[in-house]
Symmetry: C2
Subunit: 160 residues, 2 copies
DNA sequence: GCGAGCCTTGACGTTGACGTAAAGGGCATA
DNA sequence: TATGCCCTTTACGTCAACGTCAAGGCTCGC
């Protein structure tokens, strides 16, 4: 086989995906149990396709925004059946619309929480600066941490 | 007593707060157990002050953005002790900063999720328009629903 | 041929955030 | 005085989302 087995038909082992996304095998199997993933098999072993990987990305992001696995599954199912016996999909549509409203609400909540945390931080900082200036951490550290996180995250986690 | 016992010193029963914020008595007692609320007592009964109510609002919002009760408690504690024996608060500061980064990440996730859900909705709508136009819900309904939610929400839930 | 290291399938344990049922007290209205 | 309705505490149950063994199979390298 030639060296070019790059993007298109690549497959992944469970461990590859796990280290790539900082998940655990147990979690991936659990998602499979719940019908969110259905990787192929090579004998006994799971073989994940690029599509599976894409689904996993969606799953993880869904989780981060607070969707239940159940909700995530419903969304994912939409991207497959496309033209199945869908009569009750009017129901799905309604639920999705509601979820959008929820998420917009959540966005506001987050903005609020962020500004509150910022305030709390400022107060703490001032307090510390007054009484225990020795304990003040370097601001630069956080700049660095922030940058580090903003690169990686949902997209492949720095697979070293 | 005069009819004006409005804003300042008002107190609330557990049920009042529950119906106002769509919580359950069990939940409020649970928060108390965990040290997030400490309402006064009238004999055996809990009496919530305006400050307690404010804390409750923060608790509920914290929950909506995915904070654990533990984390929420730490934030709330900051708004009271102000100048206690705080040496390890440098640690809190660090944790809050990290949480801010988390939340900013989460905001991005939500934006992504929203646009994905919108796409999903559009596809579903088109599909339905094609095959089962009879099932299409009226768009106006959602305008209404959206408005209804954007008024109420974290602030008092329409206490009818 | 055998240990290391990957994988598999059960099956039970855990944690957080409550739900739910039991047993009782306090006040009001019929 | 009895019937509700609200409150209380104590205690056990539940649900999601895994974690954590246990027991076993494949395959590589030596």
């Amino acid at each position: 086989m030639p060296t070019e087995l790059r993007r298109p038909e690549r497959t992944f082992s469970i461990r590859q995906l796990c280290t790539e996304f900082k998940a655990t095998p147990r979690a991936l199997r659990f998602y499979e149990d719940k019908g969110l993933l259905t990787p192929a098999r090579d004998g006994m072993n799971r073989v994940y396709s690029y599509k599976d990987r894409a689904r996993l990305i969606l799953i993880l992001r869904g989780k981060r925004v607070g969707l239940s696995l159940q909700e995530i599954r419903e969304i994912l199912e939409l991207y497959g059946e496309e033209d199945e016996v869908m009569v009750q999909n009017a129901h799905s549509l309604k639920k999705f619309r509601e979820k959008i409203v929820d998420l917009e609400q959540q966005r506001e909540d987050i903005d609020g929480a962020i500004s509150e945390l910022r305030t709390a931080c400022e107060r703490l900082e001032k307090h510390l600066a007054d009484k225990r200036p020795d304990l003040l951490p370097k601001a630069a550290d956080y700049d660095q941490m922030l940058r580090a996180r903003l690169d990686g995250h949902a997209e492949p986690v720095a697979a070293k």
